[in-house]
């Protein structure tokens, strides 16, 4: 006689909360999610193939456009791979500069995450407050390299340019002002009962399961696994920096929120330390103008804002890579969405897409 049927819904690709162009096929029982199936590929631009057809200098331009929220981290990991192929090291001052810029970019990226995540859950004002602070960071980045998002700032052997006059002072000013702003976000969200209700115990994933999915970055640490590339295999001058790796205890959306907020505080500390320790000197080591690394292959990882960014390069001795592959943390993290979403309400799916902090440019490449 009477039976129930599942309702199928297409969340995206045209939808206000899909962070780019993601499509999620949802099967609902009432408002409860029975099954969710992310469909990707709407933003595919063939960055990896382009990396095999453009030379090493040109390919960096494409890395800007993969994870457009955190371009400097993408630049950095790619250039590190090229440097490893070439067998050169960055100039000491440049290494500090890279850390400063990468950490600022991490703060900016986390701010975008917080902004969109809060907006997904309905807190409008946090969105604009976060973008105000991000604007300050983007101004710093623009002041350094001339572009806000598509930075193209790092070169094999060091940095393209030194910091302009007054830049370090401005960066310090930002770091001084930032904790007060973070406190405001805490007042609006951290202890807010609606926010807690919407995030606590939503999308719980255990450390073991997170590892088996291959999740990295804040999402993994929120599940209590202490793995941060900056600590595990330090690159650049991270071994000289003192910072804390925040871990979560439950592994739910609220933990992921707390972990990322704490990471912003730690990133700020790293920036301050690096600014204080930065030596004087040239920013570029001697590197041939035409980059022609010897034949060989490398795989380099570093810690992006979303997790472990990886680059795999195979050189055949010419100025163009034989193989160029990028490991995107977002892609791996998104895999866990069906697992996280199962049994939650349809409103939670947007919170979960938000909490995974995906950038579709990075997933589809």
């Amino acid at each position: 006689m009477l039976g129930t049927r599942e309702l199928e819904i297409n969340l995206g690709p045209q939808h206000p909360s899909t962070h780019g162009v993601l499509r999620v096929k949802l099967k609902l029982d009432g408002e409860t999610i029975v099954e969710s199936d992310p469909v990707i590929g709407y933003l595919h631009r063939g960055c990896e193939k382009l990396g095999e057809n453009r030379n090493y200098i040109q390919t960096e331009v494409y890395t800007d456009r993969m994870d457009y929220i955190a371009a400097i981290n993408e630049n950095l990991v790619y250039i590190e791979a090229v440097e490893k192929l070439l067998g050169v090291e960055a100039a000491p001052r440049a290494q500090y500069m890279r850390v400063i810029l990468a950490e600022l970019q991490r703060i900016a990226s986390h701010l975008v995450w917080l902004a969109t995540h809060a907006l997904d859950i309905g807190a409008m004002s946090v969105f604009l407050y976060c973008f105000r602070e991000r604007e300050a960071i983007l101004d710093l980045i623009e002041g350094y390299c001339g572009a806000r998002l598509t930075t193209n700032a790092i070169r094999a052997g060091g940095m393209r340019l030194d910091f302009p006059d007054g830049w370090t002072g401005a960066a310090k000013d930002f770091c001084d002002e930032f904790p007060a702003r973070l406190k405001e976000y805490d007042t609006l969200l951290k202890t807010n009962r609606i926010w807690m209700g919407r995030t606590k115990d939503i999308g719980v994933i255990s450390g073991e399961k997170a590892l088996s999915y291959g999740i990295t970055g804040p999402c993994l640490r929120a599940s209590g696994v202490n793995y941060d590339v900056r600590k595990a295999m330090p690159y650049e001058v991270y071994s000289e920096m003192e910072f804390d790796v925040p871990l979560g205890s439950v592994g739910d959306t609220y933990d992921r929120y707390l972990v990322r907020l704490e990471e912003m505080r730690q990133s700020r500390l790293i920036v301050l330390q690096a600014l204080a320790k930065m030596p004087e000197g040239p920013v570029m080591n001697k590197v041939p103008k035409r980059i022609k690394p010897p034949a060989g292959e490398v795989y380099v990882v570093n810690e992006g804002p979303r997790g472990e960014l990886g680059v795999y390069l195979v050189s055949n001795g010419t100025d163009t890579a034989e193989r160029c592959r990028f490991k995107s943390p977002c892609f791996v993290n998104l895999q866990a969405l069906p697992e996280l979403a199962k049994g939650h309400m349809v409103a939670d799916i947007v919170a979960l897409i938000g909490t995974l902090d995906i950038v579709l440019g990075c997933i589809d490449r």
Binding site: P16, E31, A118, G122, A347
Partner: protein, 379 residues
């Protein structure tokens, strides 16, 4: 017969026309105030282009909505799709019939209509269209009809998002009508009448707003604060405003029940939503905040001073003063509405339901009991 016709047909018609006109204007500027206020709270500026600081923006918006193409989905039920914005709009407007905007009535002297040489006798025009002895119930009954508009809009669009939005809204409005009604019951008991005019007059007699009703003479024991809180929360939920704006939660359901609406039909839905907001604020002001009574009401000396600050206009001055105080109260209540929207995240559907059924309804029942108890003890 003719006099009756004027008294019972012509005057109410004019009143209705005036209320609709003024309220539509209010809605236009409420939208602008919403955009401006939320912008200020988000360190933005809001509309700045049309007119001085965007003051003509509402007019531009109306023109835009009027000229927009009316899109009806192919699989939609055309008739229901057409009438649901109207169904949404009519109850919202009909509720204004019982609202007393000011206490003193206007005296209109006898005059002659020139062309037809018709003598209109002297009239006393009140600020309300009808003073029903069941005014509050009328408000509850009529406002509960708005849900049809939402439900049918969602169903007739033949879209899954619209459908989910309308189902949510129906459940939400039905469940929050109960705490809304319960919070009103205490006021009903205090006033001893369900007429909105009677309720304000009862406050005038009591010498204070019902919000500050202090039973047993204890100065800072104001049980109606709970009533106000209950009413306000329930009204925010009834009007589908943040943080309870689930039927149109844009991050989940795109735009909820009005996803498939455009142009004039969308404008109607939009108007109805804001009319309901104004209505809820009016009811709060009348029930708890003393309606047209001045803000200083109950403070000796000041009360008389601000009761009529246009004494040279006589009765009309008092009427305008009352109108001003009511408008001020409504404006403040609406500002709180918008403030909430600028601050809070959105509840989830099940949380909203449990808040309504597990907290607000028991609280409402307890509130009625407590008020009744205090009234009994007082004798």
């Amino acid at each position: 017969m003719k006099e009756q016709l004027i008294q019972y047909l012509a005057v109410p018609m004019l009143q209705i026309a005036a209320i609709i006109g003024v309220m539509l204007l209010c809605v236009m500027y409420l939208v602008l105030w919403e955009r401006k206020l939320i912008a200020f709270m988000q360190v933005r500026m809001g509309p700045m282009r049309v007119g001085y600081h965007g003051l003509l923006q509402p007019i531009a918006d109306v023109v835009k909505l009027l000229l927009k193409e009316d899109v009806v989905p192919k699989a939609a039920d055309r008739w229901v799709h057409l009438i649901s914005p109207i169904i949404l709009m009519i109850p919202a407007l009909a509720c204004f019939a019982v609202i007393p905007f000011t206490g003193t009535s206007f005296e209109v002297g006898a005059f002659t209509i020139p062309l037809v040489n018709y003598d209109v006798p002297a009239l006393t025009v009140t600020s309300w269209v009808a003073d029903l002895n069941i005014g509050l119930l009328y408000f509850l009954a009529i406002s509960s009809l708005g849900v049809y508009g939402l439900v049918l809009a969602g169903w007739s669009s033949n879209s899954k998002y619209s459908m989910l939005g309308s189902l949510r809204s129906a459940a939400q409005m039905i469940s929050y009508e109960v705490p809304l009604g319960l919070s009103i019951v205490a006021i009903l008991m205090l006033s001893g009448t369900a007429s909105l005019v009677g309720i304000v007059e009862a406050q005038q007699e009591a010498g204070h707003w019902w919000l500050f009703w202090a039973p047993l003479g204890v100065p800072l024991l104001w049980p109606q604060f709970i009533g106000l809180f209950l009413y306000f929360v329930a009204a925010v939920a009834e009007t589908n405003r943040a943080p309870f704006d689930l039927p149109e939660a844009e991050t989940e359901l795109v735009a909820g029940f009005h996803t498939e609406y455009s142009g004039m039909k969308f404008a109607f839905m939009f108007l109805a939503e804001y009319l309901n907001m104004i209505l809820a604020a009016l009811i709060v002001s009348v029930l708890f905040l003393g309606g047209w009574l001045p803000v200083t009401f109950g403070i000796p000396g000041l009360s008389e001073l601000f009761g009529n600050f246009l004494p040279f206009l006589g009765g009309a001055g008092a009427a305008i003063t009352g109108f001003f105080w009511l408008a001020l109260k409504v404006f403040l209540v609406l500002t709180v509405y918008l403030w909430l929207r600028a601050t809070f995240p959105r509840y989830r559907y099940d949380q909203l339901m449990s808040l309504g059924w597990k907290w607000l309804i028991p609280m409402g029942l307890a509130h009625v009991m407590v008020t009744a108890l205090f009234m009994l003890l007082r004798g």
